[in-house]
């Protein structure tokens, strides 16, 4: 069963970190080049895994296990009781997340070429962050998940705090406090589960927790399960984020460098959704069912709250930040529907929003690089000076507002399809969000690209050299998913059937 493929994939950025450590600080070109190259092995391995899966390879064959920690010796009762293994594995959903993570990491590394100073430290932290993200999606037990989860926090803290904009320190601290509290709650849940069942393996927990009375080592009352589930909802709700736990994420969106926001908005927020689906739905399906209405309501609140607030922002980055909140509402809506269409829609939305927000934030970095502002009242008329970038910005906005033929539509459509089956009235209220999304996105994007600028921006250049790569890859993937959604739905078949059935 041991293939080491996943370990190699997850830890491949480590090589880059080591090499970067050996390079002189001042070698800007070399550091940047190495930083970008170091993300490639993971991307190649992830894509290989995806294509070999399409070619018929069994995902279980990627799993690996090594004995790691053992708390006392209960092997007389059960070989694995109170042991924690180092175990990695993937299913269809995590396969998609790994591909998304590695591709976005490469593109964000390219976007990081806009970074102006301290490239060495930047890229080392960047690669460490990538290890954390890849690990989160492959970890097969909760302890390992938690460790990788924490690994994402620390580099992120420094990346925001050091390379961000004016209020970067404040943003970094509020990021750390909120996510620290979230992970503290998560840790409590993990420890309670470990104490009660003697295992943290996710697949085993799925069976044990739902096996009725007497299955677990110590009895778990229904109210305890519900309590644990609510704690999980809060822990991942901070990450997603769910209203009213979102304010840290606005600061990060605005203050962090755009290349980091690509990863933050594209991947890190998705860990919240991933956790809710994998652990919330997986380990506590009955509790999830009970609270499904609440989750759907929270989804509609997120959707509308984010949309209405995005409508009155004056900073384009704030518009995108609120738009992320709004779009995460669609994930919750799909999960709240908890039928096949809804869950598949939620997962599609996770991937789709990752691509779309990465595209939009990349364009933000392109724009900021040239005009040093994202205040919309100072911008305008860029369709004239940078027609190509403006065209892509408009395309990104169209994808974001759910234009058919692009990925956003497929996910939005399925999430609503699911919710209309279960709670039609709530879904109809949520559908207002579809209108509002168009309203705020067009307002924002047109005020940048159409019309006239308030002040003169002379000699601005359109997309150049390396800036083409992220834009083309992202828009290509967005359209691919929109036109041929089977690229995503095929790996998800079993998962969705398992949940919906």
């Amino acid at each position: 069963m041991n293939s080491y493929y996943l370990s190699l994939l997850v830890f491949s950025p480590l090589l880059g970190i080591v090499l970067l450590a050996l390079m002189p600080k001042s070698n800007e070109k070399g550091l940047k080049m190495l930083g970008v190259l170091a993300t490639l092995p993971a991307t190649i391995l992830a894509l290989l895994a995806y294509f070999s899966y399409l070619g018929g390879k069994d995902l279980a064959s990627f799993s690996e296990q090594v004995n790691w920690m053992r708390f006392s010796d209960f092997s007389a009762i059960h070989a694995n009781l109170f042991t924690v293994k180092y175990e990695l594995g993937i299913d269809g959903f995590s396969l998609l997340m790994i591909v998304l993570t590695s591709v976005l990491a490469t593109l964000a590394a390219i976007a990081s070429l806009h970074i102006k100073n301290e490239w060495k430290g930047y890229y080392m932290l960047f690669l460490l962050l990538e290890i954390g993200m890849l690990g989160v999606f492959t970890a097969q037990n909760l302890i390992l998940f938690f460790i990788f989860f924490e690994i994402t926090l620390i580099p992120m803290f420094f990346l925001i705090g050091k390379w961000g904009y004016f209020n970067k320190e404040k943003a970094a601290y509020s990021f750390l406090i909120y996510n620290g509290l979230g992970s503290a709650i998560l840790l409590i849940v993990i420890m309670v589960l470990f104490a009660k069942t003697g295992t943290t393996n996710i697949e085993t927990l799925k069976v044990l927790v739902n096996g009725g009375e007497g299955q677990t080592l110590a009895a778990m009352s229904e109210s305890l399960k519900m309590g644990l589930f609510i704690a999980l909802l809060i822990a991942f709700g901070v990450k997603l984020p769910i209203f009213p736990l979102h304010s840290w994420m606005l600061r990060v969106h605005v203050e962090a460098p755009p290349s980091i926001v690509m990863l933050h908005s594209g991947i890190l927020l998705k860990i919240g959704a991933f956790g809710l689906i994998r652990f919330g739905m997986g380990i506590f399906p009955e509790q999830f069912e009970t609270l499904a209405v609440l989750i759907a309501i929270l989804g509609v609140i997120n959707l509308l709250y984010g949309a209405f607030l995005a409508f009155i922002q004056t900073d384009f980055k704030m518009v995108l930040a609120y738009s992320s909140i709004s779009h995460m509402g669609i994930v919750l809506i799909g999960l709240g529907a908890s039928n096949e269409a809804g869950v598949q829609g939620a997962i599609f939305q996770v991937v789709s929003h990752g691509l779309i927000s990465a595209l939009l934030f990349f364009l933000v970095s392109v724009l900021y690089e040239r005009v040093q502002t994202t205040q919309m009242n100072e911008l305008g008329g860029f369709a004239k000076s940078m027609p190509i970038a403006s065209g892509f910005l408009l395309a990104g906005a169209m994808a974001s507002l759910g234009l058919p033929g692009m990925s956003g539509f497929v996910s939005e459509f399925m999430a609503f399809l699911g919710l209309f089956k279960e709670m039609p009235i709530l879904a109809a209220i949520g559908a207002l969000g579809i209108i509002m999304t168009a309203v705020y996105l067009l307002r924002a994007v047109l005020s940048i690209t159409y019309g006239q600028a308030n002040r003169e921006y002379a000699g601005i250049r359109d997309l150049r050299s390396f800036e083409w790569a992220p834009v083309l890859v992202l828009i290509g993937l967005i359209i691919l998913i929109g036109v041929y959604p089977a690229v995503l739905s095929q790996p998800l078949e079993n998962i969705v059937l398992g949940i919906g059935g």
């Binding site: 369709a383 169209m398 209108i435 059937l497």
Partner: protein, 620 residues
């Protein structure tokens, strides 16, 4: 017919090709666009001819698997689709040709042709769709094409506002369509038209659900076809280049709403309420927009309101169970309205203004445009022997036969208004004294007049495919093999045709008296009822009403939520950080550097531990 799916792909190819290479091709881009739409046109005609002799063809492939649900994509060539294919590709081809002259010299010339390609692709895809989901997909895409072309002159704030408005207003309707279609899906288990119809006809869907879903779907049609109360975007859409107005906002996309209702006709027909809604909205829009058309002075806006009004006619026909009448009028209207817009474009091209009060006496200067414009005007006014006469007559008969007498008379009055304002337009532009500043006005190049001639011929003869005198070929063919669509021709009393003719002639005569002969003062009405005039001239203040209700309400909600954000959510943040800071300060006190304090704590702690040890005897 098996390869009909290729038809939309030619314009798509044009779009992609021009996006990539347009910059190098410059104005040669026009040939790419023209040739590829010509390919679509030729193929569409072949498909139409094929459909005349063969049965409906339908093909599908899997698209999206959701658990056990399987959604498909495909295409279907039935009578309506085949007819629409030809109308769309023909008008698109003519507009492509016309634009070569009209857009000459524009620095974004290739982009214009690229957008035209995108739109044509989406529109052709729309009319081939065999299911509601695919229809919705292309429905949105035509909206984007329209949006891009309305905002083509992006540096103008008015164009920007118009593009945004068009997209958002139609999206309001689209959400209705989306909800309706999803609800219908959970009722019938399918998005496929034929399966939905079978399920509805088998009585598997409750009556209320049919009414609800068909009205929701109709909301989508209202948005797209500029029906009251979602009509306000369409006149503003005239900010786009005039060929675009002809293609999108007259002949094809705005007719998509009518097409949708026609396609879904078996579902609508199953609900009396839904049919009545369609008919009433149609009739109200027809007369409402016609009255506004009476007062406008911008040549394109007059035509825009007349489009809204004519689309209302089509809806009225469908709502009155006149399936054939609605589709027939869709076809004739596409030809004569595209003609009118292209001719108006030719006028604008010549005199560089859109204000009809600044025009006059152009008849002699524009030797091609003027007579062609006259043909279009006669056709839309319902003058006998031209195409509009026959199709409008069918609609009036359908309304009468269905027993909607009030709606019938509304339509008759609207016909009178139409004849009046169209000839008002004609007389003001082409007759009277030539203005001195227009001495150097020239007729447009052949690339522009050519397409107008083709449309002019069609505006005259296209009515003869379906007349009570020579046979109702179109009608019989359209409903063949599908009883749910009603009869190919509805018999009506002969006096309707006479009334329609008289009304239209009366409108023309009144316009003649006021604007040609000037024996009747032009402000005869306005001076007598200034309030009415002011209300109508301001388009019933609908825009202002929306501005002061919906737009403000949206802003108010946003501001209210910002209040929540600032006080509640930020309050939460403050309390969280406050707690953390408090704990931190507490912790900091432990490290105040005073050795005495450390010693005290250490000894007290030791004492407590020893006490516990003594009390419990070492066992906890």
């Amino acid at each position: 017919m098996e390869n009909a799916w290729l038809i939309p792909l030619f314009p798509l190819l044009s779009f992609l090709f021009l996006l990539l290479f347009g910059k190098k091709l410059k104005e040669a881009s026009a040939y790419v666009g023209i040739l590829l739409t010509l390919a679509s046109l030729v193929y569409s005609v072949i498909v139409l001819v094929g459909r005349l002799t063969n049965d409906t063809y339908k093909a599908e492939a899997d698209w999206l698997q959701i658990g056990n649900l399987q959604l498909t994509v495909g295409f279907e060539v039935n009578q309506l689709n085949a007819l629409m294919l030809v109308i769309v590709s023909l008008v698109s081809f003519l507009v492509h040709t016309y634009s070569k002259g009209y857009m000459h010299g524009d620095e974004r010339f290739p982009v214009f042709y690229a957008y035209l390609g995108l739109f044509t692709f989406a529109m052709l895809g729309l009319v081939l769709s065999p299911n509601l989901l695919q229809t919705y997909i292309f429905w949105e895409l035509v909206g984007v094409g329209s949006f891009l072309l309305i905002g083509f002159y992006f540096h103008k704030d008015s164009a920007k506002a118009a593009a945004k408005k068009a997209f958002i207003m139609t999206r309001i309707g689209d959400v209705g369509l989306l909800i309706g279609m999803i609800l219908l899906f959970w009722q019938t288990g399918s998005f496929e038209y034929d399966e939905i119809f079978a399920s509805v006809q088998a009585g598997e869907v409750s009556g209320t659900m049919i009414t609800l879903t068909s009205i929701l779907i109709f909301v989508g049609a209202v948005g797209k076809s500029g029906q009251f109360p979602l009509h306000t975007w369409l006149p503003d859409a005239m900010e786009g280049p005039t060929p675009v107005s002809a293609l999108i906002h007259a002949a094809t996309m705005v007719a998509a709403g009518v097409y949708l209702v026609a396609t879904m006709f078996p579902v609508f027909a199953a609900s009396e309420t839904a049919m009545a809604t369609v008919a009433i909205v149609g009739a109200v829009t027809a007369i409402f927009a016609a009255t506004i058309g009476l007062t406008q002075t911008d040549i394109k806006r007059v035509l825009a309101y007349s489009t809204v009004s004519q689309l209302g006619y089509m809806m009225l026909a469908l709502g009155a169970a006149g399936y054939v009448a609605g589709v027939f009028h869709l076809m004739t209207h596409a030809f004569f309205k595209a003609l009118l817009f292209l001719a108006a474009g030719s006028v604008i091209h010549a005199v560089h203004t859109q204000d009809i009060e600044k025009m006059g006496g152009l008849w002699k200067r524009l030797k091609f445009t003027a007579p062609l414009f006259l043909i279009g005007t006669l056709a839309i006014s319902g003058v006998p022997l031209l195409s509009g006469f026959f199709s409008k007559d069918e609609i009036l008969i359908a309304a009468w036969a269905n027993g909607n007498y009030v709606l019938f008379w509304l339509a008759v009055i609207a016909a009178f208004f139409t004849a009046f304002y169209m000839f008002r337009l004609f007389f003001m532009v082409f007759t009277g004294k030539p203005r001195s500043e227009y001495k150097n006005v020239h007729e447009s190049p052949a690339s522009m007049t050519g397409p107008m001639v083709v449309l002019g011929i069609l505006a005259v003869i296209s009515g003869y495919v379906n007349t009570p005198w020579f046979g109702t070929f179109l009608g019989d063919w359209l409903v063949e093999g599908n009883e749910a669509l009603g009869h190919g021709h509805i018999e009506g009393p002969a006096w309707i045709m006479i009334v329609a003719t008289l009304v239209s002639l009366a409108g023309i005569y009144l316009a003649y008296l006021m604007y040609m002969k000037r024996s009747l003062a032009q402000d005869w009405f306005t001076s007598r009822a200034p309030t009415v005039y002011s209300i109508v001239n301001n388009k019933y203040f609908i825009d202002e009403i929306y501005q002061s209700t919906i737009v403000y309400a949206t802003k108010a909600v946003s501001l209210f939520l910002r209040f929540i954000e600032l006080f509640l959510v930020e309050g939460l943040v403050k309390s969280v950080t406050g707690i953390v800071q408090g704990l931190g300060k507490l912790g900091a006190k432990l490290q105040n550097g005073q050795v005495q304090a450390y010693g005290t704590v250490a000894f007290v702690g030791l004492a407590v531990l020893m006490l516990i040890f003594a009390l419990t005897g070492g066992y906890l």
